[in-house]
């Protein structure tokens, strides 16, 4: 009797039932590398980022590190973090990146830019060769993002790395056929890049797969601006693309790639050390956090691969990802 009275005086504890989203979709897994090269699998999630209580996150977001064959577009503050001897040789740069924990090397062929050194196929092939022989990591190669030039240099590179499942970019709305064909012929992976528009992203995936690139060989880059430069658009577009994939929309169920590193290092906060407001804080600290926060935000929104630039950003973001995965 006494017991039951006591019980009644206790607060009635509401039962907390954790609602779980019952997603039906799964992001495709894309295998990068192979044929003697390390293989990295990206994608595969059946839940929103890191919510492993209601789905599977079989692969962590992968960290790619960007190296350039013409590093002059990067600010001195970034280049000095690698060392001058390193950044003047893409092979050494890639090697150092691998030592620091890069899982993929992103080689951006900046020297081929028509407004810059305007180098040609031979230089591009030699840069790719250097990276391929310096490291056994999977490779991503991005052209100068000028349609004709991309087509000119990426096709021979596709041949050069035949079967090694490198990632080639970028396929864009009015220029995807040549690069897509090169990917089909040599079994590579295509990046489908669209400018911050979910419908265009879906449409380009359809177009690239329609001409024969399997959806298992496409990564989508819906574009992003760095922190302070429109990152909120990218946050929402990645979230919407991932939600659509989980809801079962097959054409959006491909892994997402974003480049928070290079996006950060082209902005003033990461470039300018003097003559800026004091409230911006010390340059090194500010610039590094700018890259980290750009990466952190986009990783929490659904990015499956992120390209980073600063050695310390690689270290911190990798450690963060491991912890987010519950490791």
């Amino acid at each position: 009797m006494l017991d039951s009275i006591k019980f009644k005086l206790e607060v009635v504890v509401p039962e907390v039932e954790i609602p779980k989203e019952k997603w039906t979709g799964r992001v495709r897994e894309v295998k990068i590398g192979g044929k003697g090269r390390k293989e990295v699998v990206v994608g595969g999630a059946t839940a929103m980022p890191f919510l492993d209580f209601e789905g599977e996150i079989p692969n962590p977001p992968r960290v790619a590190v960007e190296v350039r064959d013409d590093p002059s577009g990067f600010p001195p503050g970034l280049l000095s973090s690698w060392g001058d001897d390193v950044v003047n040789d893409v092979g050494s740069w890639a090697k150092k990146a691998a030592e620091l924990g890069a899982e993929i090397i992103t080689l951006r062929l900046t020297s081929a830019h028509p407004e810059g050194q305007n180098t040609g196929v031979e230089e591009a092939k030699s840069a790719v060769d250097k990276v391929l022989s310096a490291v056994d990591l999977p490779l991503m190669v991005i052209g100068p993002e000028i349609a004709d030039k991309d087509n000119e240099i990426l096709v021979p590179i596709a041949d050069l790395a035949e079967g090694q499942r490198i990632v080639l970019g970028n396929c864009v709305e009015n220029n995807y056929k040549t690069i897509a064909a090169a990917c089909i012929a040599a079994n590579h992976i295509a990046i489908a890049k669209t400018p911050l528009d979910i419908n265009l992203a879906k449409q380009l995936n359809v177009q690239v797969s329609d001409i024969g690139v399997p959806l298992e060989s496409i990564l989508m880059d819906a574009d992003m601006g760095a922190l302070g430069y429109g990152i909120e658009y990218a946050i929402s577009i990645d979230e919407r693309l991932k939600l659509a994939a989980l809801m079962g929309d097959s054409v959006t169920a491909v892994p997402i790639i974003n480049h928070p590193g290079p996006e950060t290092w082209r902005q003033k906060e990461a470039k300018v050390s003097e003559g800026v407001p004091e409230s911006w804080g010390g340059y090194d600290e500010r610039a590094l956090y700018w890259e980290e926060l750009s990466a952190t935000s986009i990783i929490h929104s659904g990015a499956d691969v992120v390209t980073l630039c600063h050695p310390k950003a690689v270290e911190y973001i990798k450690s963060m990802i491991a912890k987010l995965m519950g490791q």
């Binding site: 607060v11 302070g228 430069y229 082209r266 902005q267 409230s279 804080g281 929490h300 911190y316």
Partner: protein, 452 residues
């Protein structure tokens, strides 16, 4: 969740007596669903109907306000999981923690540095939001005098952190009319803390040390005792578990699980093994569901980064950030530097300023008010035209800034060249590239204009 007209209709008497002023119960129900009428106009509405309607009208997450003499800091009242679904409403306050064991000098310095911190971005000024004062000494009078000392130096909102209700009580004596956030009621002290919260009309955190069941229990206890303004600390600290539990709490709040219908507080420093990790955790919490964030680390660089992220995440997706119109500088331009023109849609401006920055050539950018529309959208909506451009050139005295009198129109609106020339007979109107990335090449090809 709002009820539909049909759902409301089922709760009405269905007699169509017209006393509410509508011909049918259905017509009245539709008005109620649209939020244009009040149920009290139906004299025959059942208690069940009243209860269900008021429950449905209650927002899923309470807005909680921390009050000082001159500040009101409101947090919570969020309605969605993802910002694209509507928007995030109340930017999570960023507070900095100080401890009552710090020396008077250190305390003064931190309060001054944090209190004076402000940074400008896109024409707005941002500051941090307050302090969390912690009773690290365990001593009530030390805590009370520390709180008093902070209070005498700043009117920013406060959180008071103590486990001992005696300490909390002593500190609350010293805060005058302001209503700081009490941290925290735990299973060991909730009765006394709850009494203090009621006595001083303060918002109060309930902190779980054992998962979400305990959190719900404490929240129910607090509201049962009459504390209305509650903030939740689910207790998880690390990157993985805080993401998971904050997500679950927000989700349950939106599904109207009442014990969780309150804002969340986070302490990124407590889950981090380095300052970098604390900053990353804070970034996670800004995006994923914290409504008050207490930082242990402060530096201008950290504050600038986090405030920028918060601005971005809390931007209304339907009303993107707009810039003030005016002439902006990239680098330190002089009278020979190029003058570009764009709209006040922040993304257009950032695209152009980023590319101009990359060219290394200092420049002027004239930002025309197009109500936040991008170049082509504004042009087709008639909000970016020759008259507007000419008016801005004059309003901001562009002719005093440059001596070459040439103006670069975005390539997408080349069509405006002729008309702009008519409006600005003293100016040479150039047509720039269609896309921002073309600016580097364009500057190089036309260098003689700015060097000659």
């Amino acid at each position: 969740m709002a009820l539909t007209g049909i759902q409301i209709y089922k709760l009405l008497p269905k007699t169509n007596c017209k006393e509410c002023g509508y011909p049918t119960c259905m017509a009245f129900a539709m008005k109620l669903a649209a939020g244009q009428e009040d149920l009290s106009k139906c004299p025959y509405a059942s208690d069940e109907a009243k209860e269900k309607l008021s429950a449905a009208a209650k927002p899923p997450m309470r807005a909680v306000t921390i009050v000082t003499n001159d500040h009101q800091l409101t947090t919570g009242a969020e309605l969605v999981m993802y910002r694209h679904q509507k928007k995030f409403f109340n930017p999570a306050p960023l507070m900095v923690r100080v401890k009552d064991t710090a020396s008077a000098d250190d305390l003064n310095e931190t309060v001054e540095e944090v209190g004076n911190y402000s940074v400008d971005r896109v024409g707005m000024t941002f500051t941090l939001d307050g302090f969390a004062v912690q009773n690290d000494s365990g001593d009530a009078s030390t805590f009370a005098s520390c709180v008093e000392s902070v209070k005498s130096k700043t009117d920013m909102p406060l959180t008071l952190i103590a486990t001992d209700p005696n300490s909390m009580s002593a500190a609350l004596e010293k805060v005058g009319d302001s209503r700081p956030l009490i941290y925290a009621a735990t299973k060991d002290n909730i009765d006394q803390m709850g009494q203090l919260a009621k006595k001083y009309s303060c918002p109060m955190v309930v902190k779980s040390s054992d998962g979400l069941d305990e959190l719900a229990e404490l929240s129910e206890k607090a509201s049962g005792a009459g504390v209305e303004d509650i903030i939740l600390d689910p207790g998880d600290r690390d990157l993985h578990n805080s993401l998971v539990s904050f997500t679950q709490v927000r989700r349950l709040a939106l599904r109207k699980f009442e014990p969780f219908g309150y804002p969340i507080i986070s302490f990124p420093g407590e889950g981090a093994s380095s300052v970098e990790e604390e900053v990353n955790l804070a970034a996670q919490h800004i995006a994923k569901y914290a409504n008050v964030i207490v930082m242990d680390s402060f530096s201008p660089a950290i504050a600038y980064n986090l405030l920028t992220l918060r601005l971005n995440v809390y931007t209304d997706p339907q009303a993107p950030i707009q810039l003030q119109s005016g002439i902006y500088q990239v680098g330190s331009p002089d009278e020979k530097s190029p003058l570009c023109i764009t709209t006040n849609y922040a993304l257009s401006y950032f695209a152009i300023s980023g590319e101009v920055e990359a060219t290394g050539r200092p420049s002027w950018i004239l930002v025309v008010d197009t109500e936040g529309l991008s170049v082509l959208t504004a042009w087709s909506a008639g909000k970016f035209d020759a008259d507007g451009i000419a008016a801005h050139i004059k309003q901001f005295d562009a002719a005093d800034k440059v001596n070459h009198n040439s103006l670069i129109l975005p390539g997408g609106v080349a069509i405006l060249k002729g008309e702009t020339e008519e409006n600005l007979p003293d100016w040479k109107i150039l047509v720039g590239p269609r896309e921002a990335p073309g600016i580097g090449g364009y500057f190089r090809q036309n260098a003689q204009i700015w060097e000659g």
